[in-house]
């Protein structure tokens, strides 16, 4: 069953020296509970693509189709944690509900799950970057999403911390299965998480290849296995790099 069907023929991108195409002819279908990672160089239009998928950007030609009821169960994780600094961690999470009182238990358990129990009354700027990213994950998962759109959510963390947060994401997804569209420029990150990779060219973004990732959870946690998989499929990764 298809959860999300994304077809973008054309996404204009205004620049001082005229109008450019940011995206050209991208078609992506994501099955229910499938984890798709989109790999592409920085600035190739990956964020635009996610924003179109989320319905945040209407200036494009194409179409986005969601499975029934999915649109209301969608969560977005931004490139920066994007927590409101003038609201506490708990208030930031409460804000995604129109009736936070009735979700007090869900909020408490999601804070527990991301390891922020006890920090809920702290303002975000007093937290470390890793903790802020945990709070952003909590905000997304508290909605029990069926579709997760993630825009390089672990960028600018050191490798150890990023690996820990990837494990946290896997755990959260095990408890709350969801279709995921995950954008990154880090092939290791993509391989350790995704069922399928989609490679994008530098702007204007076009799909240059697709690759299933049939790795076991054990293999995904071993850097050597990831490297071997990459070497075995070198042509995909080469084209994505240019």
């Amino acid at each position: 069953m298809t959860a999300l069907k994304l077809a973008i023929q054309h996404k204009p991108f205004a620049r001082e020296d005229g109008e450019l195409n940011a995206i050209e002819n991208i078609e992506i279908e994501i099955a229910a509970n499938e984890f798709v990672a989109v790999l592409g160089p920085s600035g190739c239009g990956k964020t635009s693509m996610l924003q179109i998928a989320a319905g945040l950007d209407q200036e494009y030609t194409g179409a986005v189709e969601y499975a029934a009821g999915l649109e209301d169960r969608m969560a977005y994780v931004f490139q920066s944690p994007t927590l409101l600094p003038w609201r506490t961690v708990r208030q930031n999470i409460e804000l995604v509900f129109s009736d936070p009182q009735t979700h007090a238990d869900a909020i408490a358990s999601v804070l527990e799950a991301v390891g922020l129990a006890g920090s809920e009354d702290i303002y975000p700027l007093q937290l470390s970057m890793g903790m802020q990213r945990r709070a952003a994950l909590a905000r997304a998962f508290v909605l029990r999403p069926r579709l997760l759109l993630m825009d390089e959510p672990f960028v600018s963390l050191d490798e150890l911390l990023a690996a820990r947060l990837r494990d946290l994401l896997k755990t959260m997804l095990a408890g709350n299965p969801a279709s995921v569209l995950f954008v990154t420029h880090d092939w290791r990150e993509a391989l350790s998480l995704a069922d399928r990779l989609i490679f994008l060219s530098p702007g204007p973004a076009r799909i240059t290849g697709e690759l299933a990732v049939p790795l076991s959870p054990q293999q995904r946690s071993r850097p050597a296995d990831l490297q071997n998989f990459r070497d075995a499929n070198a042509k995909f990764f080469q084209s994505g790099k240019q």
Binding site: Q51, A54, L56, A75, Y76, F78, S80, T82, L84, P85, W86, R87, L95, V96, S98, Y123, P124, L125, Q126, R139
Partner: protein, 254 residues
């Protein structure tokens, strides 16, 4: 912590020293000149005591304060609305930029006189005249604040479907708070000075009216008594309302 306490202590002692030195200079000058047009602080305080005990001072100060409050409120609400819309919509900004320039440079006296001519010597005209003088400053400040709104938070609000009211309350207004505070503080200082002029020209009570009255009598001690009592009131509002509010609004900053 210790240094913070020391700083507060040092600040207060310097403030006291500053005020006392002003009083000493004034006193010295008054003694030197020996003129009824430059009374000593002592003379002024005895006038203050008389005006306070017969209720005159309280009545006129509260009349003025009510006018200040009303015009301040009107100016903040209308000025903020105009500023926010100008910050949001580029065409509104371009269209009304010339208007803002005009009203920013329009002398306060002209607004006051025109308001009295057009709307009569009424309370509404008074409040309107003062508000019109302040609205352009508020609008300019809030326009700047609106242009500085972080688009990342707007995206957040849309991605998580906050809706209009929640976005305004939790996303937009907290970002504008420093601009509101700046507009409010400069606004209070401007508004109360203009209110006195308006009262002088077209009201039969208030601090401005009293100053006008004592000007005709050349009673400098009474003029200074009213001026000082009003300075104290405004400083109290600044210290006990505006500053604490600003600190609460900024407590999330590390």
């Amino acid at each position: 912590m210790a240094s913070q306490r020391y700083n507060t202590f040092a600040r207060i002692s310097w403030m006291m020293t500053s005020v006392i030195s002003l009083l000493v200079v004034w006193w010295g000058a008054a003694l030197l000149v020996q003129s009824r047009y430059l009374p000593t602080p002592q003379d002024v305080f005895s006038v203050l005591a008389v005006e306070f005990s017969n209720g005159e001072l309280l009545f006129h100060v509260s009349m003025t304060l009510m006018r200040v409050a009303a015009s301040f409120l009107v100016a903040m609400v209308i000025g903020s609305a105009i500023g926010i819309v100008m910050g949001k919509r580029a065409w509104v900004d371009r269209l009304f930029d010339g208007w803002l320039m005009f009203f920013l440079n329009l002398p306060a006296l002209v607004t006051i006189v025109l308001c009295f001519i057009w709307f009569g010597l009424t309370e509404v005209a008074t409040v309107l005249a003062v508000a019109i003088n302040k609205i352009p400053n508020v609008a300019v400040t809030l326009r700047e604040g609106t242009k500085a709104l972080d688009p990342a938070y707007e995206q957040l609000a849309r991605a998580y479907r906050f809706g209009r009211w929640k976005t305004l309350r939790h996303v937009v207004l907290p970002q504008l708070a420093p601009y509101f505070a700046a507009a409010a503080r400069s606004g209070l200082a401007l508004v109360w000075k203009i209110v006195l002029v308006v009262e002088l020209l077209g009201r039969s009570n208030g601090v401005g009216f009293q100053i006008h009255l004592y000007f005709q009598l050349f009673d400098v001690a009474a003029i200074l008594a009213y001026a000082i009592s009003f300075i104290v009131v405004v400083q109290l509002i600044e210290t006990f309302i505006l500053q604490p509010w600003q600190q609460t609004a900024a407590r999330w900053r590390t």
